[in-house]
Symmetry: none
Subunit: 218 residues, 4 copies
């Protein structure tokens, strides 16, 4: 009816292109906070600044939105880690400590940390999520660390019985730290028992490396 100015058009187009990302961000936040089932799709829309109906222009259902969220906030950080690990050089323990802490702190600080909680929470209701997650996150993540450990063994730095177990020992606390950030820590519970994440990551890796360097236990 009224001729729309080209300016307004530009604004709208820009908004339009940003929409899916805004919706995904809002969805991630809310799904992580309240869980998938307890989050109303209207809440997601409101948090993204659009109306209920608009959400359904971009995602055909709440469940598809969940899957899209997982896919959207995954991988990039993990993959970044792979690149850096491959490029790094020098004493493996030093490299790993620098690399892993930096890499993981980025994950911890960013939205990906929430996805860890979300996936753990929802896999049993939506197993396809799990397949995707293992393939794109778990497997590559473990591979990075396993690769570094093996490099350490090759360089004579480490003496390791079971590389897979060591990978778990290294990574699981980091993952749980992410999960905790979005459960206990997010509601200010057990403050006196909390640990500064970065401090812990350093201490944790040093402890592990000390163990890895020791001659294999009898």
């Amino acid at each position: 009816m009224s001729p729309i100015s080209p300016d307004a058009c530009l604004f709208r187009r820009r908004r339009k292109e940003a929409r899916p990302a805004e919706l995904l961000e809002a969805a991630l936040t809310l799904f992580v906070e309240k869980g998938f089932a307890a989050t109303r799709s209207e809440e997601v829309a409101k948090a993204a600044g659009v109306s209920k109906g608009t959400l359904y222009l971009y995602f055909p259902s709440k469940e598809e939105l969940l899957k899209a969220v997982i896919q959207h906030f995954v991988g990039t950080e993990i993959e970044a880690g792979i690149q850096e690990a491959a490029a790094a050089d020098g004493p493996v323990a030093e490299v790993m400590e620098q690399l892993l802490v930096a890499w993981w702190m980025r994950i911890y600080e960013g939205p990906a940390s929430g996805v860890f909680k979300l996936v753990i929470t929802e896999v049993r209701n939506f197993p396809e999520i799990g397949e995707f997650w293992v393939e794109r996150v778990v497997a590559p993540g473990q591979a990075i660390v396993a690769g570094l450990i093996r490099r350490g063994i090759a360089r004579g730095e480490f003496a390791v019985d079971d590389v897979d177990c060591a990978v778990h020992s290294i990574l699981m606390p980091l993952i749980l730290e992410c999960v905790h950030k979005h459960s206990f820590m997010a509601c200010g519970i057990g403050k006196e028992l909390e640990i500064h994440p970065e401090t812990f990551m350093h201490a944790h890796l040093r402890l592990i490396f000390a163990g890895l360097k020791a001659p294999a236990s009898a």
Copy 2:
């Protein structure tokens, strides 16, 4: 007042006394599997072999049922650990490995393992759960392990910079193992990446102890 002999209703009484526990067990299983919000109260009732209405004879609301579940399946195992840890004697690393693995395997195999997932999943919606959990589980659990580490230091077995961090390094993988049991592992995803829990616990503790025994890293 009633002329009916007191043991005439023994059967009913016994059923009545068993009901809450049956309902709590069913609720735990389902809440852990599907999440609190996604579990219908009728499902819980059916799983316990009673009707919808009966559930509400024993718990005034679904939310109260959740709280009761947490309280019911908590603490006993943790406390058992405290007793054993206090009673144990000899080289701390050996004692800990035996004790911790046995203790934790009981937790891992029993219903408590599910509660770890449940609490992580639901704290943000029901923060009171978290208070209870920290007070009754997290704090005592960390205290057990911290106490053992300190004993190790006192005996000259361990050299530790930061006891709290070491406690986290030890416990977090064990906790996440419990959580994983009820998320990824329960739906048969990522089998190729899985680790046998008991094997891992042994390997994990040996790695940590090796680290703890090493002279403090420069």
Copy 3:
């Protein structure tokens, strides 16, 4: 099993015989207070000091209980009025004021006053109640008053155009006073606007009689 003492038997028999009346009283109170639909049958049982099941030994359903309540608390007072009115002698206005106020105050103070509210509230859901009520209460009640008015006309005391209307003018405020006792007055609302019932009944009847005595309005 245990031989019951004859004494206990007597006590039980007495209680047993009192049960229906106790239940009816409790039911009346609660139905008047909360309405039939909003009263739970267990509440009635509790108020009568018995258990839910016992109620159903005496009344086959909640609806039958309602009917029984209406029937139980009706009629006797009304009929008493008929006897007295027939027996009375002397100037009708004086007789009526004495008789009506006394009669009605007994109704107002007793349980029957609640039945007025109950019937008004529930007729449309249970029309049979209405039939019974009109036949046993409304018709005889109006007949008493109409009879007295006609006696007054016959004695030359009153000059009345429309006896039925006069009966309504006399009785309706008295009925509404009963209803109010169990609605507004029972929850202490509008205290400043309330009137002392007996004072009002006297004033009301005198006003009416003054009107009835006046020569028919032009």
Copy 4:
């Protein structure tokens, strides 16, 4: 923001604006007929031609709907009476009969008559209703009539002992007539005892006025 012309959704907007009133009307009818507790919210919705869910778009709960009903159908008629009473002139008895009958017949014929029954029925369950009712209906209504009576006294037409009692004598039958319309009369019970409302109102007022004009009874 939206490119849709403002009057494109005129139809929807008009519907939306009409909805609350439609729902309130349906609710009044059903609440008066069956009582609040015995009316299902879906019935209200159906009677207003919408679905269950739509009702809850406009009223947050059944109880709030009840309160809204009372507030919606109150006051306007009462207030209209105040204006007319103030404006009227001439012999008070004549003025009052004309005014009161006309005023009250409008109330009797309109939806407000049902509210009298509804309020009486539900005050004890929702006392806040009563406060509102007394303040907005009872007090002003009594004030109108009391004012007229006092004007009659000032003009030498009436001789009254107790104005408040006279107000009650005048109004209570009118109120109960409204209540009866929605209880006994609505289910066709006691037809032979019924009175034509308008006829009765005239007769009632004349009887009262005759009493008010008489010299105060000794």
